[in-house]
């Protein structure tokens, strides 16, 4: 079939449009979804692009259904995904707990909005705990937090590979600001860049008559014995731990000699990177540390940084959701921890810089 993107090209798009293109070039075959701001345009672009490339779409009755139909598509062996936000993400956690239990490579794009409840639609980082830990269970999932449109593109593609390679549900965590804003980026076909796309395999509806030509493929999520469940969770958690070091990603700069390291993720990282650049120009010993995967956390590097740094400033558009993940990763480190928490509010480079200067006095 014709590739959606033949040659690399520059584009100036909204984040939601970027996600639709990324899913398309990643070979996603089906999107199931339910409208919610700020992710709507992912569906809008997908429904415009999909028929041209013979991809499917189903608008479901709610996010429970969007999640469970995505599971159906994935179990049929198709690269399927959904997108949601806020209260929709809350509902999405029921199907995602089943995906976690059954090790299903479901891909979900979350464009965070304010919370709790219906709240606001543009800007927030308040779905970190929900997305990383999910519902009942142990949070065995992978969460990429993007901070630019190029990353939205790169990590949406990557999410499909991660999900199908490791068979853990995988999330791309953006936010309303990234979703709606326009930004330049380069669109490309992953295979043309040497990124091989991981193949799919049906969980059910396999070749051959079950019971005659092969055993039936039977998947369950209920166990009658505690021991059975214990074994299952231990095995999955063991698998997760094993892959965590190769899945975890982060970026950091100037942390070696820093008096202050600023920790952030996602869209807030943009402000932090700018603030750190400016502070360095003014001679301040400031660095940044930014986990790209919030689950698994880059535990080793985070701890190492926290052992070296004198002070750490955690900046996030939430009341400590990133901070909780970080403190767990860096438990025992000596650095003084300071915070700039603005739940549901944007954080500017100026604010970060001002707070940093205060801490460095």
């Amino acid at each position: 079939m014709e590739k959606p993107i033949q040659e690399e090209r520059k584009a100036f798009l909204t984040g939601n449009e970027v996600v639709a293109w990324a899913a398309l070039v990643a070979g996603a075959e089906f999107m199931y979804g339910y409208p919610i701001t700020p992710q709507n345009e992912i569906m809008h672009y997908w429904t415009r692009l999909a028929p041209r490339y013979k991809r499917g779409f189903l608008q479901t009755e709610d996010e429970l259904s969007a999640g469970f139909t995505t599971i159906g598509g994935v179990m049929g062996g198709k690269k399927a995904f959904t997108a949601t936000a806020g209260p929709g993400n809350t509902l999405m956690q029921e199907p995602l707990s089943m995906a976690e239990m059954m090790r299903l490579p479901v891909v979900v794009v979350v464009q965070q909005r304010g919370g709790p409840s219906t709240a606001t639609v543009i800007y927030s980082q308040q779905e970190v705990t929900l997305t990383t830990m999910g519902g009942n269970g142990e949070g065995l999932r992978i969460v990429y937090s993007t901070s630019s449109h190029q990353e939205l593109f790169d990590y949406t593609i990557k999410a499909f590979n991660t999900a199908w390679r490791y068979r853990f549900p995988t999330f791309v965590l953006g936010d309303g600001y990234q979703a709606k804003m326009r930004e330049p980026l380069t669109l490309y076909d992953p295979e043309a860049r040497g990124v091989a796309m991981v193949g799919t395999e049906p969980f059910v509806g396999k070749e051959g008559v079950p019971g005659i030509e092969r055993p039936p493929a039977q998947h369950r999520n209920t166990f009658s014995l505690e021991e059975e469940l214990y074994e299952k969770v231990k095995t999955d958690a063991g698998d997760y731990e094993k892959i965590a070091p190769s899945v975890a990603e982060y970026s950091s700069k100037y942390t070696e000699d820093a008096d202050l390291v600023i920790l952030s993720h996602g869209v807030v990282f943009r402000a932090v990177a700018e603030a750190v650049g400016s502070l360095r120009e003014h001679g301040f010993k400031v660095g940044f540390f930014r986990p790209v995967t919030l689950r698994p956390m880059p535990v080793g590097p985070a701890r190492e940084m926290a052992q070296k740094a004198k002070k750490i400033l955690i900046a996030e558009s939430a009341l400590g959701q990133l901070a909780r993940l970080f403190k767990e990763a860096a438990f025992g480190a000596q650095a003084e921890i300071h915070t700039l928490f603005k739940p549901g509010m944007g954080i500017t480079a100026e604010e970060v810089e001002e707070k940093a200067r205060e801490l460095l006095q």
Binding site: E61, F68, G76, K78, G205, R220
Partner: protein, 260 residues
Amino acid sequence: MEAVRTEMPAPAMPRSWRVDTKPHKFCPGCGHGLVLKCLGQAIDELNIQGRVVFGCDIGCSLLSWDFFNIDTIQTHHGRTTPVMVGLKRARPELVTIAYMGDGGGYAIGAQHLVNAASRGENITVVLANNTQYAMTGGQMAPTTLPGQKTETTPYGREPETTGYPFMGPEMVAAITREGAYVARGSVANLRQLKSYIKKALENQIAGRGFSFVEALSGCPTNWRTNAAETWDFIEEEMPNYFKVGEIKASAAAKKGEEDG
């Protein structure tokens, strides 16, 4: 002299059943096994074992996750319909069957049943109506009969405060278009129930749209009934509210009835 039989013949099991998981896990006298016998026979007769995917709900239907020699997905309470919808959309060549209880279909998963039916999703839903939540110990369901005692209606269901029994097939028939197949059978008439399920599957295979069969089913464990009382409830009490028969069938499906 005639040869003397030394062994009892094994009870005839549908070919599509998984022999190594029998005897099944349902209580003695449970209706689920009978519904699944009809389903197994229908699958055998249509010779579709190689392209069926069976989905079971949470409720006593979960016990059927390894019941058939058929690819199977056990889902969540009420969510079997969307899982099968998603699968069918992605793999239209498969025959997808969503199996659930009355609580799963009419209470927690009602929005999925309503919308799958109204969108005309080309799947088959088979629902065992045992008038209560069996797996959780016998609480009231939307289908509980007026006056019926359950754990949450210990003095009997009062319609004034808790409503009247949910008429599932009638509702599905009302919201589906021509081409849908909707029937209510009973474990008291297995031949008829099998023919309804078979026609529902044929409807899906022909791509005519949503197909739905409710089966009146028994739960002696939670009803606390002996065999005679169980059959009496299924045959005498339940039909007072739940009329057995085909509620919506295209001319083609009706013809199947005459032929079969």
